[in-house]
């Protein structure tokens, strides 16, 4: 059972709240202070990705964030209910940074290519698992806790 569970409607404004809660619980759970920025950024990336997906597919369905500290690790699982989109296979299993964003060609890019958020998470968390969860996807990430 999660130590703390948060559900929020898929609005960008709530992502900050989720980040703040995750950082506060991580601190209380004994995650080293030097890692809290990484927790904050990784959880923010996972929630931003979920919000974008929900706004496209299911804007009335809440996003779930479960934070657990009942083992040697502090784990955060962000679960969405939007149909999974294609993601680079390598991101699902390892820490891989994307190639630098190409700037040639025309058009207007407002966001980085899909998968960058997941690549950032992979670069920040000690352990990342991305798996199907019901109709959607769950992104599980964890960090080591200090010995009590």
């Amino acid at each position: 059972m999660p130590t703390v569970e948060v559900t929020f409607t898929p609005l960008p404004a709530h992502v900050r709240t989720a980040r703040l809660v995750a950082t506060a619980v991580a601190r209380r759970s004994g995650v080293d202070e030097s890692l809290l920025d990484e927790v904050r950024l990784a959880v923010g990336e996972a929630c931003s990705r979920a919000v974008e997906a929900h706004r496209t597919h299911c804007p009335r369905t809440p996003i779930r964030v479960a934070l657990t500290d009942d083992s040697e690790r502090f784990e955060v699982v962000v679960t969405d209910a939007a149909p999974a989109e294609e993601m680079p296979a390598e991101l699902a299993s390892s820490s891989v940074a994307p190639e630098p964003v190409p700037l040639e060609g025309g058009g207007v890019v407002h966001q980085l290519p899909p998968g960058v958020g997941l690549a950032v998470i992979s670069g920040l968390a000690d352990d990342v698992r991305i798996s199907p969860a019901g109709d959607g996807t769950s992104v599980a990430m964890s960090w080591k806790r200090r010995a009590e």
Binding site: P12, A13, V15, R16, R19, D37, R40, L41, G44, E45, S48, V51, E52, A97, P98, E99, P100, V101, L103, G106, G107, V108, V109, H110, Q111, L112, V116, G117, A119, V120, G123, L124
Partner: protein
């Protein structure tokens, strides 16, 4: 903290001061400012991120979008940032190779002038 934006011209280069958090909620405001500056023919930009407390991939996307816009006019978009926690996301994504990242606004302007 929310996002505060300001801008001023120095030596012919438009300096954008950013303070606060750049995320999925606030990034659209930065994007609008960058678009507005380009529409007003400011193609030499320096974005001062020294007072940015948080930056995620949405914010990176806005900066990349801004860079593409100014480059379409042979312009430039340089960054000022010395904060390790912000620089880390540029390194993870490989964007340190895409942006000129400087220690101060004066350094960024001097580097830009030197390239001309």
């Amino acid at each position: 903290m929310d996002l505060k934006l300001g801008h001023y011209n120095k030596d012919g280069i438009e300096v954008v001061d950013v303070e606060g958090e750049i995320d999925v909620y606030t990034a659209p405001r930065l994007r609008e400012l960058l678009i507005d500056l380009v529409n007003k023919k400011s193609y030499q930009l320096v974005v001062n991120m020294e007072r940015v407390e948080f930056l995620d991939s949405t914010g990176l996307g806005v900066l990349v979008g801004g860079l593409k816009r100014v480059r379409a006019h042979d312009g430039s978009l340089d960054l000022v940032c010395t904060q390790e926690r912000i620089l880390k996301i540029f390194r993870i994504t490989g964007l340190t190779k895409v942006f000129g990242i400087h220690d101060s606004v004066d350094d960024a302007i001097a580097a830009r002038k030197a390239e001309k």
